[in-house]
């Protein structure tokens, strides 16, 4: 579904992605973790070309991202992206946030788009907020709306860029629960997160990144029981007991 082959990316002098080779199969849930500045957000943002790559080959849903003939807007419509800061459209109601892209890009009928939006809102537990505006919602509610908005395009791939990092601790669970509900439904998920509980329970595979390199790829039980790389061991130790 997503294939990185020898992908490099630089920000000026900074080598943010260094020879990434990664294959994500359809329906798989991949958690990407690593210390801040390791390039994990950049990695996930290359998949829908919010960040273009400089070198190598990146094929997403059969489309080569470096091929000039690839219609990036068409590809993006198949990929849901959930941001750390939610990025709902503040001038639109919750319902309109969800129906905008289906109406304008998919040319869906208004009634159908609204029914679908209500189904999705019910699924994320926010049906009663259909007429609210983003500023009237808590962070956790906004993020659940953002997930519903992404799902409204019936994406094949969902990308989550630290979806719970901006949330108060008591709201993290509600967002993770929605994400857990998505996993295993056949949708391909790439999740950048520090929530190791989520990685352990939901991920099919964990990739550990540091300094722009994928140092380790493993099944979660292996990764957590027996991390191979020294940096991964340190990272996990720090996450589990941050006082030391």
């Amino acid at each position: 579904m997503i294939q990185f082959s020898g992908v490099h990316k630089w920000f000026k002098q900074l080598h943010v992605l260094n020879d990434i080779n990664l294959r994500i199969t359809p329906g798989e849930v991949l958690v990407v973790c690593g210390p801040s500045g390791s390039g994990k957000s950049t990695l996930i943002r290359t998949i829908n070309q919010l960040e273009p790559i400089n070198e190598g080959k990146l094929v997403v849903d059969g489309m080569d991202l470096l091929d000039k003939k690839t219609d990036i807007n068409k590809l993006r419509a198949e990929i849901g992206f959930v941001f750390q800061q939610f990025n709902l459209y503040p001038h639109l109601s919750v319902l309109s946030n969800i129906t905008l892209a289906p109406l304008k890009i998919r040319k869906m009928q208004k009634k159908e788009a609204e029914e679908q939006a209500m189904t999705l809102l019910a699924r994320v537990g926010l049906a009663e907020k259909r007429d609210a505006y983003p500023s009237q919602l808590s962070g956790g509610q906004q993020q659940r709306v953002a997930i519903a908005r992404a799902l409204a395009m019936k994406p094949k791939i969902m990308l989550f860029d630290e979806p719970t990092s901006a949330l108060d601790p008591e709201m993290i669970g509600e967002v993770l629960a929605v994400m857990q509900g998505l996993a295993g439904t056949g949708i391909t998920m790439v999740v950048v997160t520090h929530e190791m509980g989520f990685a352990r329970e939901v991920a099919h595979r964990v990739a550990f990144m540091d300094h722009g390199v994928v140092l380790e790829e493993a099944k979660p039980e292996e990764f957590f029981r027996n991390p191979q790389h020294e940096r991964a061991q340190q990272f996990l130790k720090q996450l589990l007991s941050p006082m030391h």
Binding site: L50, I79, F81, Q85, N87, H91, Q136
Partner: protein
């Protein structure tokens, strides 16, 4: 010793009152047509100014600098006296058979004001967080569609106060159209003064009408802002 005899009846009834009313109608037409066109052209120039395609961006920049940095009166004279010198005779004949003064005034007011509106809208767009464009683009919207559905609606909402200023400027600047013979409010007030020597009354009446026009424009935009643009603004 004040010897001037006030006679307000000159401007409240009769022939001269009708002149003023007809002048007001023309001022209103100039203002409404000018505001609508200036807003549309301003939006267009603002988007062009932010284009990734250099020739388009440079054209918009040249447009802005040119029309913001030359006097409106010169621009009005240019469109009225200057433009037809370079147009074919057939076009001029047609223009003369129409209300060319009015058209020239509308063109000048529209272009002049659109340059200011474009800059206001652009600064509104720049104040929208970059992430909004990212969210729109990752949903699959093209750059222009993202502008249309997500960025500009937000930018225009926060640009309402400076936009009102530009609309008011346009309405007031429409008085300059008298210089090319458009029979708008100031022109008619001047006529009333010439015929009656009641300059105080004539221009007081014109002043009051401009005041009412300006406050009405402000009120209308604010009602539109409250009812349509931001009905659920949290604060």
């Amino acid at each position: 010793m004040l010897t001037y005899q006030f006679d307000w009846s000159v401007v409240t009834s009769g022939k001269y009152f009708e002149w003023l009313v007809s002048g007001f109608k023309v001022t209103l037409q100039l203002s409404v047509v000018g505001i609508v066109l200036a807003f549309i052209v301003g939006l267009l120039i603002a988007v062009m100014r932010m284009s990734n395609f250099r020739p388009v961006r440079w054209f918009a920049l040249a447009y802005l600098e040119f029309f913001r940095n030359t006097p409106l009166l010169v621009q009005i004279f240019f469109w009225y006296f200057g433009s037809y010198k370079i147009l074919p005779t057939a076009v001029n004949d047609w223009l003369n058979s129409t209300n060319f003064e009015f058209a020239a005034a509308v063109i000048a007011l529209t272009i002049y004001t659109s340059a200011f509106i474009a800059e206001d809208i652009r600064s509104g767009v720049l104040s929208i967080p970059r992430e909004q464009m990212e969210a729109a683009r990752s949903a699959g919207f093209s750059y222009l569609r993202s502008m249309q559905y997500i960025i500009l609606p937000q930018a225009v909402r926060i640009t309402v106060p400076p936009l009102v200023n530009q609309f008011l400027n346009l309405a007031k600047n429409s008085s300059l159209a008298m210089t090319i013979g458009v029979m708008e409010l100031t022109y008619q007030a001047r006529q009333v003064e010439s015929y009656t020597f009641k300059g105080f009354e004539a221009f007081t009446a014109a002043t009051v009408v401009y005041l009412v026009l300006s406050t009405s424009i402000t009120a209308l935009v604010h009602i539109y802002d409250k009812r349509v643009l931001n009905p659920n603004r949290a604060v």
